[in-house]
Amino acid sequence: MGLGVEWAVQWLTLSARLMSEHREELIALDRAIGDSDHGENMDRGFQAVMEKLAQTPPETPGAALKLAAMALMSKVGGAAGPLYGTAYLRAATALGEDADIDAAALAGALTAARDGIVARGKAELGDKTMVDAWSPAVEAADEALVAGGDAVAVLAAAAEAAEVGAVTTDPLVARKGRASYLGERSAGHRDPGAVSSALLLRAAATAAGFPEGAAE
């Protein structure tokens, strides 16, 4: 048995909690190479997701992600809005109306999300953006799938790889987004969007039942 709408709702709920808990950290990261708002953007965006979830409880995982996409696009206010919005929308489209998501569907949804981010932002791997978290996450998810992993294993692998990917942004020089204005001076700082991406993927794994902190 795969993951259902409860998982999706739990994922979004944990995401909202993590965005609130890491708000100041994300703001500090964005202060160094951006405009100091990523924590606030994400916190507000996921608060809006929670409000929408309460108003119109979704019936499928895809519906839950679509609802989140619309709320994030509307309420984030920064680059992360259209980027995550597009990601969740593409993932929702990939999942379709299915009530039960297996490992393969999940890996496909992650790929669709990453592709959405790339389509929207046109960043490549190594540009010091959230793509540097998502691309390794998608690769790891695919490997876990090939290795016969279940949905939980796929998400755990993605979360783990995204966390490593976020760390790899430290020495990079930004070539997309606001941080690219800093040129060489952007090196030596972690990309805030890569960090929030890792947190969101960690929330997905935790919601699926992967023990919190098991990766550490």
């Binding site: 405009d35 708002d37 606030e40 953007n41 507000r44 696009m73 509307s74 309420k75 984030v76 206010g77 920064g78 680059a79 809005g81 259209p82 980027l83 919005g85 597009t86 929207r120 932002g121 997309k176 987004g177 606001r178």
Partner: protein
């Protein structure tokens, strides 16, 4: 006028100011200024952007809307908004400086240019000459 001009900025003041400046030279043109988040912060607003696109598509008599943006995230918001629009192919994003491009676009629109020509006018603004 067959073309509507939409400004998508992070700042309401920039959007409104750019429109007041450009409108001086293009009194018959329809402008739509979108700037700031719905809770008054600096940022972009997808819903207001979609609404401006639809208004521009509705009032402009058919040729489309041309969009001026400030930073990259405004471009992404505008592209997302266009995808949610009734006629995405009629929403043309100009890759041009917001204020200076809007003035050029406004004068071209006032002169009866097509949407493609208005976009080209905005993108034709040059510096360093």
């Amino acid at each position: 006028m067959t073309v509507g001009l939409v400004v998508v900025s992070h700042s309401r003041k920039i959007a409104e100011g750019a429109v007041e400046l450009a409108a001086q030279m293009a009194t018959d043109v329809k402008f739509y200024a979108v700037g700031g988040t719905d809770d008054g912060r600096i940022g972009t607003d997808l819903e207001k952007t979609i609404a401006a696109f639809e208004a521009g598509l509705g009032e402009a008599s058919g040729d489309g809307v041309v969009v001026l943006t400030d930073l990259g995230s405004a471009v992404m918001t505008a592209e997302s908004a266009a995808e949610f629009c009734s006629e995405p192919e009629k929403v043309l994003l100009a890759d041009a400086p917001l204020v200076e491009g809007l003035v050029a676009a406004a004068v071209a629109t006032q002169g009866g240019a097509s949407a493609a020509a208005v976009k080209a006018a905005a993108e034709g603004v040059r510096f360093g000459q």
